[in-house]
């Protein structure tokens, strides 16, 4: 996909996110909207992956979502990549759905390789997959996404140490660096300090994407990150995003972390998210 198509897809994914969360009056729109451009870039441009879906992910790039609460963006991107029918997005968080509140393998939803939701576990799982790819001489990459507040979970730092020690230079971990978490700004809840220095002191290569909601900036940052793989160190992207990006009234605070828009708010959001081209709502 070219830049304009990627931008259009990101807008469509944002429409999916607000409609899914509105439809069940439950879910997490804020972080989903913030990570939309990154996930669209990964699934529609950067990753080599097969929507026919093979759990083992041999000879393809593999993505793990650690901050599982942003399942709306994950599901939308998977559906629109062809992993499962787009119409299934309407079942999100409803009874008998494969689209659980947090991603799960239990219902066999194509594209999901691990359950996530209880925070702090995804980097470990991604490290296991990256280790397996090394054992198999598989040159493809492992991508993972974690929240910034999520880094308060100690298991992440175990994984960060592990990945450096085992020279997992086939792994790119993005931190959704929006500075927000449920109880407020991360700097007030539990300061993360200098994340760049922290990752570097653990012997990772660290890049920053300053405009994590600008598709061109995301693409450029990802290309740079890929160029750093295979050089003995795992790669971290500090992805600066805005929670709620694309929907004006959801931006600028943590308040839309985990609540759903009303009918009137949905209308405003959809007015702001205007799509072009042939894609359309589910």
């Amino acid at each position: 996909m070219e830049l304009q198509e990627l931008k259009a897809m990101a807008t469509q994914v944002r429409r999916d996110i607000v409609r899914m969360v509105h439809g069940v009056q439950s879910g997490h729109p804020g972080g989903s909207l913030g990570c939309t451009d990154y996930l669209v870039a990964l699934y529609f441009k950067v990753m080599q992956h097969d929507p026919a879906f093979h759990m083992e992910g041999k000879n393809e790039d593999v993505f793990f979502l650690s901050n599982g609460h942003i399942s709306p963006v994950f599901y939308s991107v998977l559906a629109r990549s062809g992993y499962f029918p787009v119409s299934e997005l309407a079942t999100f968080r409803k009874i008998d759905s494969r689209l659980q509140g947090h991603p799960a393998t239990h219902e066999h939803l194509p594209g999901v390789r691990i359950a996530s939701g209880s925070l702090g576990q995804g980097l470990s799982v991604a490290s296991g997959m990256a280790t397996a790819k090394k054992m198999n001489n598989d040159q493809h990459l492992v991508y993972a996404l974690t929240g910034d507040g999520e880094l308060q979970e100690g298991q992440n730092w175990e994984a960060i140490m592990f990945a450096a020690h085992h020279k997992l230079d086939n792994m790119i971990v993005a931190v959704d660096y929006n500075g927000q978490q449920i109880d407020g700004a991360t700097k007030n809840v539990m300061s993360l300090g200098d994340l760049k220095a922290k990752f570097e002191s653990f012997d990772w290569t660290v890049l920053t994407i300053e405009q994590g909601n600008d598709m061109q900036a995301v693409l450029t940052g990802l290309e740079e990150a890929k160029a750093h793989t295979g050089k003995g160190k795992p790669v971290c992207i500090l992805l600066k995003t805005e929670m709620g990006a694309g929907v004006s009234f959801m931006m600028g605070s943590h308040e839309w972390h985990g609540i759903a828009p009303s009918d009137a708010q949905l209308d405003i959001a959809l007015t702001e998210l205007v799509t072009t081209g042939t894609i359309g709502d589910y």
Partner: protein, 321 residues
């Protein structure tokens, strides 16, 4: 027949694990061993020497080890995680629950130094709640082999089932009496060691041998004692339990575990729904352990041969009321 069982040697069950995974690694190139700084304690030395490319050292970071294993399993490997039983379960329960059990990953959680027979290290390390925690998890297979030979056989056998497994063993030198080739071990199939009609003793782990010794004493007193080695606690061989309890009409369960949540409760669950009979527990009575020699601890906390005999006499008296 009880006299068929003689201890060919005294060996640690953890050595059965180490020898089992080494044999298995020769047969199956997908087997990977992970440890959290306890490779020596889990007897992985031969594995590491001959298969260094399939050994993953995780350092003292068990939560990460479980996640790494889940990632390896996702990729089609058969990861065996190794550490002490308390660090294999209570310390990492949420990681096991979400990344392994709920995600149905083919991870083999191999746990040594379980129970009181850990000995001198004391209660911080003597986990007595692990069977309960692990059997509560949907889809988890829970196996507690009784001796060296059986631990070796189980270590190999679990590679052949596509399921998360909790394999529990220990550090103490203990009677080794099951078949050397492991042919008497089948996952999910209760092992009836002795047939009897007056009482059923169902045991797991180290207490299987204790149960056999108790049965010998009881048979000398004229009782007919059925002894079952319930090495697989989940999925439980319900048919074997019902068959035996229906025949004998009473049961004693014996385990190196808390009275709550373990083998005894698993048996009580089956019995209460199918064939309620008088039941006595030989287990740790809702307390923590302490430092001491393994046999001293088993005696002090009520897990000795005399405790099994007393429980049998009590349960038979209840049956006759």
């Amino acid at each position: 027949m009880l006299q068929d069982y003689t201890a060919s040697s005294e060996k640690e069950t953890r050595a059965g694990f180490g020898d089992g995974i080494y044999e298995l690694a020769k047969q199956n190139p997908d087997v990977v061993a992970l440890t959290a700084d306890l490779a020596g304690s889990l007897k992985l030395n031969n594995f590491i020497k001959d298969f260094p490319e399939r050994f993953v050292q995780c350092g003292i970071a068990e939560a990460n080890m479980i996640g790494v294993a889940a990632g390896l399993a996702t990729a089609g490997k058969i990861p065996y995680t190794t550490t002490f039983a308390n660090f294999s379960t209570s310390r990492v329960y949420d990681q096991i629950r979400q990344s392994v059990a709920y995600s149905h990953k083919n991870v083999k959680i191999c746990a040594s130094h379980a129970g009181l027979t850990l000995g001198e290290d004391g209660a911080t390390h003597q986990i007595l709640e692990d069977i309960g925690m692990m059997r509560m998890l949907p889809g988890m297979t829970v196996i507690v082999p009784c001796d060296y030979n059986q631990t070796k056989a189980a270590t190999i056998a679990i590679s052949k089932i596509e399921s998360p497994v909790y394999l529990r063993f220990g550090r103490v030198k203990w009677a080794n009496f099951t078949k050397e080739d492991g042919s008497d071990f089948v996952i999910g199939k209760a092992q009836v060691l002795n047939e009897g009609t007056d009482v059923t003793i169902i045991a797991c782990g180290h207490l299987v041998w204790t149960a056999l010794e108790a049965a010998r004493t009881l048979e000398a007193k004229g009782l007919s004692v059925e002894v079952i080695n319930m090495h697989t606690i989940k999925p439980l061989d319900e048919e074997a339990v019902i068959k035996s309890l229906t025949k004998t009409g009473c049961v004693v369960t014996a385990e190196e575990h808390q009275i709550n949540g373990g083998l005894g409760d698993a048996i009580a669950n089956v019995a209460s729904r199918n064939c309620p009979v008088p039941h006595e527990y030989v287990a740790v009575n809702d307390t923590f352990g302490e430092s001491g020699k393994p046999v001293q601890l088993l005696e002090k906390y009520g897990l000795g041969q005399t405790n099994i005999i007393a429980a049998v006499e009590k349960v038979i008296a209840r049956k006759q009321k």
